[in-house]
């Protein structure tokens, strides 16, 4: 499954990092604690969070995540979006809350 597939299936907004829409997805991780994500997420996962600052991209890049999905309609801060464009790791945005979005993602990616 590619990032573009979940963008379409879940009507996500692509905020930045469009060149990474072909990134391959292998699972996901949902958390707002950065050390939790650093310690427990794996490469090629999508990360669901409400954090919008630049440090999410430092983590996404170091962990080689497929994409970051912001919940509740949040948008990335400008420097986070810049970094996402540089790294080719998309930041997506969903109108839904973490619980609903994670459930749908789990169904999509698990199948």
């Amino acid at each position: 499954m590619k990032v573009s597939d979940i963008v379409e299936a879940l009507s996500l907004k692509v905020c930045s990092g469009e060149q990474g829409l072909n990134n391959e997805i292998e699972g996901g991780y949902t958390s707002d604690l950065l050390s939790d994500v650093m310690g427990n997420a794996d490469s090629n996962q999508v990360w669901v969070t409400l954090q919008t600052h630049k440090n999410i991209m430092a983590i996404a890049s170091l962990k080689e995540l497929a994409a970051v999905i912001l919940v509740k309609g949040y948008e990335p801060e400008a420097d986070a979006a810049d970094q996402s464009n540089k790294e080719g790791i998309p930041i997506l945005s969903s109108e839904e809350e973490a619980f609903e979005l994670t459930g749908k993602l789990y169904k999509l990616i698990g199948d």
Partner: protein
Amino acid sequence: MDFKFDIEGGNFSNAGTASSDVKKVLKKLNVDPKLIKRIVVSIYEAEVNVVAHAYEGEMNVSIFPDKIIVRIVDKGPGIADIELAMQKGYSTASPEVREMGFGAGMGLPNIKKNTNELNIKSTVGVGTEVELINYLN
């Protein structure tokens, strides 16, 4: 082979830059990707600790045929009780830092879990030195 990278205390917008530079070096040297992943987790946590808790620091990487040693040395308040600081969930991070999602007290435990040998030396009022040793079996 030795490399050195600076870490700016207090500046969260650059947090992770030194770790990212070290990762590039390790990749170039064809270090085992699994080991790179573990090292990246531990050096990022040590770097963010300098940003969050100290004033300034540096990351020194020494690569030997059988091991990689990373030393993160900072000028800062130091750690009075290292055993306490190592406990999962212990954090003195400010409310602002916690709001950003830092301050879960998981950084040092993450380092411990991802490193063969972890040595911390600290002097209150002076600074902290975190040494990470990983063996290249």
